[in-house]
Amino acid sequence: MHKEADIRLPLILGDKTYKDITDDVIRPIESKAPKTWYLLLMISVVISLWGIGCIVYLLGTGVGTWGLNKTVGWAWDITNFVWWVGIGHAGTLISAVLLLFRQKWRFAINRAAEAMTIFAVMMAGLFPLIHMGRLWLGYWVFPLPNQFGSLWPNFNSPLLWDVFAISTYFSVSLVFWYIGLIPDFATIRDRVTKPIFKRVYRVLSFGWTGDAKAWNRFELVSLVLAGLATPLVFSVHSIVSFDFATSVIPGWHTTIFPPYFVSGAVFSGFAMVQTLMLILRKAYKLEAYLHVKHIEYMNIVIIVTGSIVGVAYITELFVSWYSGVEYESYAFLNRATGPYWWAYWSMMTCNVISPQLFWFKKLRTSLMFSFFMSIIINIGMWFERFVIIVTSLHRDYLPSSWTYFHPTWVDIGVYMGTIGIFFVLYLLFSRYFPVLPIAELKTILKSSGKNYKEGYGHGEGYWQKHTDH
């Protein structure tokens, strides 16, 4: 069996048994929801209804209700799109890349992070769709036979690559998530007593049996899906960056974009995981499964990706000067010192300077500080996309058309609305779905449970008895 070095901190604290893992994860599903859950759900529903109202108004009136003008043709919508896609990168990254590297600490966060991914990608997909103005014609982006002389979408265009990348990413993440959920739904199915719950989880669990062959297939399918999802994660955000990088706009036309966007996505995704999981572990009393060590690992990922992002910002600045192209140099000078200096310096502070504080062990193992930082990073990464998009556009080649972008209430409403919808979905998930992977946690209990590592799992002397074999 798998053995872990004694000096490694156990991943599961407390004196847990297999039954405890089931109980701890299913308790929120079986018990009545606390008042705060209803309160949060109410708030999220109200915000999402406001957002939906804004979208309906937008579709009825037109994209002119946004603050776009003749110079700034892309602003909050694409900023929000990239922001949400970025957040949606952590889930699959955690389950796929960390699975390939056999990082067992992922079990504390993978299920909830994948849910976050799926909901975030849903929110991301909304923005290009509503930007089309005619939502009901959204299916035109797919290469379907049509009556317009069979004119096909342009397969040379990064925007079409994006359609394929985002839809593939969404559906593959959904499949990956659901295949992991099936055994856990079976656990719930075999436990709950309420007839309605029994029936629903029976349908959701697809009749899972848990026989040896099924587990054999389960493990291989997880591995192969991880192998497929890993390059997929990298390709998706590379393609999102191509939306900008293949254009000829100074400030966008840079070859550094794919790696810079991918690490930025991981950076923001982990920050969002921190925000959500730090609340979830407290609310659902999952401190034994997700403790300081897990938070520290995530903070290390944040510091690495944050530093990559920082290097990318500085490289961009250097190359803009070194290229000798005056338009390119001006684009970056204007970012830092032009009318949008406040956005640029917020981005720099939030994304480059503040994550460096995690070099201090005291700070990266502090839960309060981690939570605070995760919010800062979420804000910083929104500013990053805003800076890239709006400051590159607002001063074009003709000074008479230089403008300043002001968001309208519709811009703000749609963005707030997606946050509302995201939290509605996430709150429902956390109430009715197992937030930790029950089956997978059980596989690490004996190798990384505190009680087993210290040799008193299942009572005194158990460990000696079993190492004799």
Binding site: N156, V172, V203, T209, D211, R217
Partner: protein, 177 residues
């Protein structure tokens, strides 16, 4: 022929693993094992063959690449060649660099979904299927071994039960079918 199934329940995966090892060493054929999580190392003991789903995924993947290549070639080269930014549009090979992203995405799409659907069908896990585990506790913290008398004709029913009782079981259930 009447068949009897013996279900032996264990409360620990190591007990089941050692039990299965002992039984198999004595020549008993263990039909199946039901557990709340994968038991590493059980497959070679009870003779579960490695799954071929990986090969299936590969085949689905190259099917996806082929379909993407054929489809894009038809749309962009044969049916309606478009001149976009002067990019070559006369043959697939000349235009291929800008098609690579969608080749890749479609390969992943087909491989992942093809494998997932095959996995669900092979496991007989589809929406609405009834649960088929022998005891509801096997998805919680109990481990069950299934032994059929028809597959162990060299032992009498009593001998088989006795052998199973030598392992560290907690419950035994016998079912006549």
């Amino acid at each position: 022929m009447s068949d009897k199934i013996i279900y032996a329940m264990y409360d620990d995966d190591d007990h089941l693993l050692n039990g299965a090892k002992d039984l198999v060493a004595k020549g008993v054929h263990v039909t199946d094992v039901y557990s709340p999580m994968p038991i590493h190392g059980i497959d070679p003991i009870i003779g579960v063959q490695p799954t071929r789903l990986g090969i299936a995924a590969f085949l689905y993947g190259i099917t996806g690449t082929m379909l993407a290549a054929l489809g894009i070639r038809f749309m962009m080269i044969v049916d309606w060649p478009m001149n976009i930014g002067g990019k070559p549009s006369f043959s697939l090979l000349e235009n291929i660099p800008s098609f690579v992203p969608i080749f890749f995405e479609f390969t992943v799409l087909c491989a992942a979904h093809g494998m997932a659907i095959t996995y669900l069908i092979r496991n007989k896990t589809l929406p609405g299927m009834p649960p088929r585990n022998p005891d509801p506790r096997t998805t919680d913290d109990k481990f069950v071994m299934e032994i059929r008398t028809s597959e162990n004709s060299k032992f009498s029913d009593e001998e088989l039960t006795k052998l199973v009782k030598n392992t560290a079981f907690i419950e035994i259930e016998e079912k006549q079918i």
